[in-house]
């Protein structure tokens, strides 16, 4: 009869920058079971909706998370606009798509850097973040902020991008393609990296579906689940396919995110070619009444915004279900049977954003 030890993998850990607590039940060096605890950064932002005007709440929604901030603001705006039946002008839709894709590129580059840091490859980490700086410069030139964009607004967008600026952005991104490829090739081909990733943390296709995995976690196991196919913002007019890999281990989840990087550069190119002149916002009058479920695709997966309004200027209920919350159950399944040293690497493959999931 083997003896089990329980190791607390606490909210403060030198390897993992996320405040999640796991109680790992170990049999020698192998993990038998993991029990999660979250709630260390719970701010109660859903309750704040009772005090802030529904138009001003965009600023709070954007600050739920630092990395996926624009898409939070965008989903809130879409939820309120669908309740009030507002038609956003096409130029604003294209601009929103361009900023969403820039947000996705910077988030995936950030993740690649943290992932390399988790298995000890610091120089690769620094190089990924060096590339990310150049994307943040593009974002700051167009919106004014490096991480918190401040450009989503109910009824449109707040700032415009001129035609010359758009062609400049597309040219810069094409030039970065070669540098990004040089760095991502190291993830895909280097022998020491592959030793840590291939065959580790396998999640089968049925398990991923049953446990409700979303985003690259699900797409790495063969499920083609991508909310951008719903056609919100300008995605209905862009030609793209969800990126799917079939092996279900950490290597395929990493490959999905790398391929999505190049797909985002393509999508921005298509948007810049199709965008037309026009107004960027529409005036909002009246108060919202009704409810709506809005689903969009963040870099980490599917986010659901449920807004319910009853005719006053404060919303009655706002519920945010973030992708990390949905991936937690799948992560617990992945951890069963792995070695103790692989635990931080596996937690990072779902791209945890605990500050989002606890609002």
């Amino acid at each position: 009869m083997s003896e089990y030890t329980v190791v607390p993998f606490g909210p403060q850990h030198p390897v993992l920058p996320e405040p999640i607590h796991l109680d790992l039940v170990l049999d020698d060096e192998k993990v038998v079971e993991a029990i999660p605890r979250i709630g260390f950064v719970h701010r109660g932002l859903e309750k704040l909706v009772e005090k802030k005007d529904f138009l001003d709440f965009v600023y709070v929604a954007e600050r739920i998370c630092g990395i996926c901030s624009f898409i939070h603001g965008l989903s809130y705006c879409i939820a309120v606009e669908e309740i009030m039946k507002i038609d956003v002008p096409p130029r604003a839709q294209y601009l929103r798509t361009i900023w969403s894709e820039l947000s996705r590129i910077h988030s995936h580059l950030l993740w690649l850097g943290l992932f390399a840091d988790a298995f000890g490859f610091e120089s690769l980490f620094m190089n990924c973040w060096k590339l990310r700086e150049q994307i943040l410069d593009i974002i700051e030139e167009t919106t004014g902020g490096r991480v918190i964009f401040g450009s989503a607004k109910v009824g449109g967008v707040r700032k415009d991008i001129s035609r010359e600026k758009l062609s400049e952005i597309v040219a810069k991104l094409e030039a970065y393609r070669k540098e990004i490829k040089g760095i991502t090739d190291i993830f895909m081909r280097d022998a020491s990296v592959k030793h840590r990733l291939v065959g580790v943390g396998v999640l089968s296709k049925e398990d991923a579906y049953k446990l409700g995995a979303v985003g690259p976690t699900a797409r790495g196991s063969g499920l083609a689940v991508d909310m951008r196919r719903l056609g919100y913002a300008a995605y209905g007019k862009i030609n793209f396919q969800p990126v799917v890999e079939n092996a279900g281990d950490s290597y395929s989840r990493c490959k999905v995110r790398i391929r999505e990087l190049f797909q985002s550069v393509d999508i921005i190119k298509q948007c810049a070619a199709q965008i037309e002149e026009g107004p960027i916002e529409v005036k909002v009058t009246g108060l919202p009444q009704g409810e709506f479920f809005c689903r969009t695709e963040q870099p980490r997966g599917e986010v659901v915004y449920y807004a319910k309004a009853d005719g006053t200027k404060f919303l009655k209920r706002l519920r945010v279900r973030t992708p990390t919350f949905a991936n937690l159950a799948a992560m617990l399944k992945m951890l069963q049977g792995c070695q103790l040293a692989d635990v931080p690497v596996l937690i990072l493959t779902i791209d945890p954003c605990i500050s989002c999931s606890e609002r």
Binding site: Y59, V60, S123, N127, E141, G144, D190
Partner: protein
Amino acid sequence: MSFFSMAKTVLLSLFRKPSTRRYPFVVRPFFKNTRGKVDIEIIKCIFCGICQKKCPTSAINVFKVEKKWEIDRLRCISCGLCVESCPKKCLSLNNQYPASMTERAKEVFPDA
């Protein structure tokens, strides 16, 4: 499968100049659109109070009687709503970040 793929980058970096800026000798230039701090031309202000109503964090206080306009820099999130809604266009968003403070004081602009 490749081995030592990072070795080339690491060795070349011995001979290239550093990738980081040598602050404070080299300062990063801000962009034109950067949202820094809010500035006011107090001469043009009519103390209507619209900026106070629009501010999402209640960082601005307008005193109509004493003709004073004050802002709490630590609460301001540089969103720019006050700049857009001022009827006299006396507010503007400077692209330098506000200086650090040692105590929580509000910045007051009296109409002298």
